[in-house]
Symmetry: C2
Subunit: 531 residues, 2 copies
C-alpha cells in the first residue's frame, strides 16, 4: 500500500500546516535499526485540528442519530477493512515498533474482535440503560411519564498509544467505543507509528464510505509536537477525550480539559506499577512455575505493558531470596529487547539508574552493554522500610524491570499496600486460606486498584463484558470508567430523559412497544416487555 | 429541641475553630423579619474539617463493607428520625427560609421518600451492575474468570443547598445516595439554615447509633466562609464531592478538586435558565391555561428553583404578545415574596437591573417598592437577534423572573437553541405534529439539556428511577450523572473486577450462587440465576 504521509481530515488528505516552532515533517524510525522509514509525515497544525473537529461536529448531526444497526454495520466493516490490509499492516507495524510478528497478529485479532464485540452490543441494544417511570395522572400533583436513556456526547478526541499500535491506537478500544456510542472521532496518532496509523485510518475511511457514514465521522492527525493535541482537547466542539500513555502526557491533557470554559471528561489511562503480593505459601511452594510466570510477565513485549508487574512484594527471607534469584536468572537469560522507540529506551535506562541511585540494588549480574534501542531486563531489590520512605521507587518504570520489596512480616506488607497510589491492577499469590486470613490486604487493594488478580499475572487484559481496565489516580484520571471491554461504551454517553413525550417522538428504545426487546427498568422492575 | 450551635464531628459536638479572617460565630436570620435566630453557630475551621474527614475514612473501613441490608436499615432509620423531628423541624426551616408550610411538608415527604427509595434499591441489589465472564481454561491462552461490580469510592463531601433545606441539604439526595453507595459523608451545611441542618444531622447521628453504624459515617460542618469548604474538597482523603448551588461556587469547588494532586469527581449542579419553546400552535391555543402554568412555574417558591423557566421563546406576533401580557398580569398579581436570604434577594434585584441595562425591557407595570428581603416577580422581553448578541442575558437570574424572547420564525428559534449553553431542562409547548415537524429543534435541545419536557413545566423534579437531573456544563459539572433519583447512587461508586478469585473470597454479589438473585450480566446475557 502506498502511504501518503498526509493527515486525513474527514476522509480527505490534508497537508499538515505544522505547529509553530517544530519541523514540518517527520519520519518513523525502525527501532531495531534506527533507520528512517518512508514517507515523511506532515505535522498537523491548528488548521487541521479545527477542520477535523468541525467536520466531526457536522458528522454528529447524522451519525449521532444513526440506528444501532447502521453503527454495527460500520464497526464490522472497519474490522473487515483492517483484516483486508493483510500482511502489509503487520509488516509496517513491525517495522515501526519492533514488536514480534506473533504478538502483532494476536493484537490484530483483538482489535478486530473488539470492533465486532461492540457491534454485537449495539444489536443487543440494552447498553443504553433505558429506564421508564410511567405516569400517574391521578396522583396529586399528577405524576408525569419519564423515560431516560444514554445518548452520545458528541465529537471525541482519541490519542493513540505507542505500545499497542493496533488495539489502543487509531482503530483501537477508544475509537471503537466512541464510534459505537455514536460519537465521531478525531484521532491523534502516536508519532512512533504513523504508517500503521495511516493504514488504519484509511481502512476506517473506506468502511465509512461503504456503509454510508458521513466523512467527518473519523479524522487522523499526525505529529510529535504537543500543541496540536492540546488544541484538540481545548477545541470547544470536542466533548470528551480518550488517552493511553504516560502520566505526564495524560495529566497535561486532563489539566487542559479541566481549565476549559466548559470542562469535558478525560479518560486518560496512565499506567501503574501493578504490585504483586507474594504471600508466604506462594513463596514456599514458589519455585519454577512462579519464577517463570513472573519473569515472563516482566519481559512480555519488552516490558511495555501498562499492566507490567513493577513491584514484587513478600516477607523477606530465604524463600523470597531464592525466588528473586530465580527470576533474575530468567531475566538475564531473556536478554535485551528492542523497545518501541529510542526516547522510551533512554527513559528506561535512566529510570533503572535513578532507582539504583535511590537505594534499590541490582540483583544478578550487571547487564552487558547493549546496542542502541535495546533494553536489558533488570531486577532490583530493596526492603519495605526503604520503599515506604522513597516515593521515587513508586514511579512506573516503563520497560522490562521489576523491584522486589522485602517486608518484615505481613503487617508491613499491608502498610506498603496502604501507601500505594492508584493502580490498574494488584495481584496476590497465595493459598485460599491465606486469602481469607489476609482479608484486610484484599480490602486495601480493592481501594487501590481497578482489577484484583489471584494467583495469576497482570499482563493480558481480556476484552469482555466484565473487564475493568482503569483504576484510581494516577492509574487513570477517571476510576469510574474502563478503557477495555464493552462497559467502555458508556464513557462516551450521557443520560437524557424525556418527560411526557408522545410515543412517536421518543427514540425507539423508549417507545411503548420495545420492538427490539431491550432490557429496560420499568417502574423499578427489569423487563424486556413493552409498556 | 435544643440547638447546640456546634459542628458535629462523628456524632460529637465540636467547637468550631473558625476560618482565618472571619468571625467565629454567626446566626441564622429569619428572612421575613431580618431578625437573628438563636443559637449562635460556630464557624468550622481546618481542625474540624480534618477531624471529620479522618473520622469518615476510619468509618469507611467498616461502613464500606457493610451489607446492603445494614445500609437499608440505616437509611430507613434516618427517614424515621427525620419524621420524628415533627413540626419542630418544619418550624425551624420556615423560620430560616421563609418557605411556606405546605411546601416544606411536601419537601420533607420527598426527603424521607428518597431515603426509603434508596433502601429499597439496596435490598433489590442489582444497582451494583454485576458482570461475570466465566473462565475457559481450554482457550489458548487460557481465559480467566472475571467478575466486576461497583464498590463505594470512600468519604464524600456534600454541600447543602439553600433552596431545598431538606431535599438537597444535610439529609438530602447527595447524602442519601452517598450513604446508600457505602460512602461516609462530611456535609457542609448551607449557612442560611444552620438550625434545620443541625436537626437533620442529629437525626442522622441517632439513626447511626441505633443501627450500629460507625460514628464517623456522618459529620456536619457550619459556616459562611469559603475556606473550610475548599479545605474539605482539597483534603486528600475525600473521594468525591456533591454540590447544588451557584455557578461561581460550583466552579470554584470543581477547580479546587481538579487541581488536587489526585483529582476527584465533582458533581456540582449549578442551575440553568431552562428555556421554554412555545411553538405556534401553543401560542395560538395559548390563553389561560398556558399563561397560568408558566406564571405559576416562574413564581413557585419565589422562583428559587434550579429548574425555574428563565427564558420563554416563541415566534413574535400578536399571539406571543397576548401571552406575554397574560403572564405579566399574573406575575403582578402574585406580588412580592420573601427570598431565602438577604444576599440572594439583593442579587436578584441587581440581576433584573443588569438585564434591563443589557437591553431587556420590562413588561407590565414597574414593581412597587417592596420591603427588604422581598422580591417582586419580573417579566422581561427582548427579540431573538438581541438575545443572540448579548450573552449576559443567557445567565441564570435566580428568582421569580423570566425573559420572553421573540424570534422572527422557527428557524431563528433553532438558532437560539443552538446558541444556548448546557441546561438542566428544555421544554417545548406545541402539538404532536409540530414536534414531528421540528424534529431538528428536539435534536438540538437533546444536545443541550438533561431533561426534555413536552407540554409541561420544568419545575417539579420527580424522584424516581428514570429522572435525569443534571445537564451539560454549566448546568452541571458532570452531565453523565444525575443528582435526583436512584441512578444517583452510581456517582459515588466505581467498578472493580476480580480475576480468578475463589468463590468464598468474592463479594456476595459476584459469587456463583447469586443468593439474592440480583440481575447480572453473565457471559453477555442478563440473568438472575447462579453461575
Amino acid at each position: 500500500m502506498d502511504l501518503s504521509g498526509e493527515n486525513l481530515v474527514a476522509g480527505a488528505p490534508a497537508r499538515g500546516t505544522g505547529p509553530q516552532g517544530t519541523g514540518p515533517t517527520f519520519r518513523a524510525l525502525d527501532p531495531s535499526t534506527g533507520l528512517a522509514l518512508e514517507p515523511a509525515y506532515r505535522e498537523a497544525g491548528a488548521a487541521e485540528v479545527d477542520a477535523a473537529v468541525v467536520a466531526a461536529e457536522d458528522a454528529f448531526r447524522s451519525y449521532g442519530g444513526s440506528t444501532p444497526g447502521e453503527r454495527a454495520r460500520f464497526l464490522r466493516a472497519i474490522a473487515d477493512e483492517l483484516l483486508a490490509l493483510g500482511d502489509a499492516w503487520i509488516e509496517r507495524a513491525r517495522a515501526e515498533t519492533a514488536l514480534p510478528l506473533a504478538r502483532l497478529q494476536g493484537e490484530r485479532g483483538r482489535t478486530v474482535g473488539q470492533l465486532r464485540l461492540f457491534a454485537d452490543l449495539l444489536e443487543e441494544g440494552s447498553w443504553v440503560e433505558a429506564r421508564i417511570d410511567t405516569a400517574d395522572p391521578g396522583r396529586i400533583p399528577a405524576k408525569p411519564d419519564i423515560r431516560r436513556m444514554l445518548v452520545p456526547l458528541g465529537p471525541v478526541a482519541v490519542f493513540g498509544a505507542s505500545n499497542f499500535p493496533f488495539a489502543f491506537s487509531v482503530a483501537g478500544g477508544d475509537t471503537a467505543s466512541a464510534l459505537a456510542a455514536g460519537c465521531p472521532v478525531v484521532c491523534k496518532a502516536h508519532p512512533a507509528h504513523p504508517g500503521t496509523s495511516e493504514m488504519a485510518a484509511r481502512a476506517i475511511g473506506r468502511a465509512a464510505r461503504a456503509t454510508g457514514m458521513p466523512a467527518g465521522v473519523f479524522s487522523l492527525l499526525h505529529g510529535w509536537a504537543h500543541e496540536p493535541g492540546l488544541a484538540l482537547v481545548r477545541h470547544p466542539l470536542v466533548c470528551a477525550v480518550g488517552f493511553t500513555g504516560s502520566l505526564r502526557g495524560g495529566r497535561a491533557l486532563f489539566d487542559a480539559a479541566m481549565a476549559r470554559p466548559q470542562p469535558i471528561p478525560v479518560y486518560a489511562e496512565m499506567g501503574s506499577i501493578n504490585p504483586v503480593f507474594l504471600l508466604p505459601s506462594a513463596l514456599e511452594a514458589g519455585g519454577e512455575a512462579l519464577a517463570q510466570g513472573l519473569a515472563a510477565s516482566i519481559t512480555l513485549g519488552v516490558g511495555q505493558f501498562c499492566t507490567n508487574p513493577g513491584v514484587l512484594l513478600g516477607v523477606g527471607g530465604e524463600a523470597l531470596e531464592r525466588l528473586t534469584g530465580e527470576i533474575a536468572r530468567r531475566l538475564q537469560a531473556a536478554g535485551p529487547g528492542v523497545m518501541l522507540y529510542g526516547r522510551l529506551c533512554q527513559s528506561y535506562a535512566e529510570g533503572v539508574e535513578r532507582a539504583r541511585a535511590k537505594g534499590a540494588r541490582a540483583v544478578g549480574e550487571a547487564a552487558a552493554e547493549t546496542a542502541p534501542g535495546r533494553a536489558s531486563p533488570a531486577l532490583l531489590a530493596t526492603d519495605a522500610a526503604h520503599f515506604l520512605e522513597e516515593p521515587e521507587l513508586w514511579q512506573e518504570l516503563f520497560g522490562p524491570a521489576s523491584l522486589v520489596v522485602a517486608a518484615r512480616d505481613v503487617a508491613e506488607l499491608e502498610r506498603v499496600a496502604e501507601a500505594l497510589e492508584g493502580q490498574l491492577t494488584a495481584t496476590i499469590h497465595g493459598s485460599e486460606p491465606e486469602l481469607r486470613q489476609h482479608a484486610r490486604l484484599v480490602e486495601i487493594l480493592q481501594r487501590k486498584a481497578g482489577r484484583l488478580i489471584f494467583n495469576g499475572f497482570p499482563t493480558g487484559v481480556e476484552v469482555g463484558h466484565a473487564m475493568q481496565h482503569g483504576g484510581p489516580y494516577p492509574a487513570s484520571t477517571d476510576s469510574r470508567s474502563t478503557s477495555v471491554g464493552t462497559a467502555a461504551i458508556s464513557r462516551f454517553a450521557r443520560p437524557v430523559c424525556f418527560q411526557d413525550f408522545p410515543d412517536g417522538a421518543l427514540p425507539p428504545e423508549l417507545r411503548r412497544a420495545n420492538e427490539r426487546a431491550i432490557l429496560r427498568l420499568v417502574n423499578g422492575a427489569y423487563t424486556r416487555e413493552g409498556v
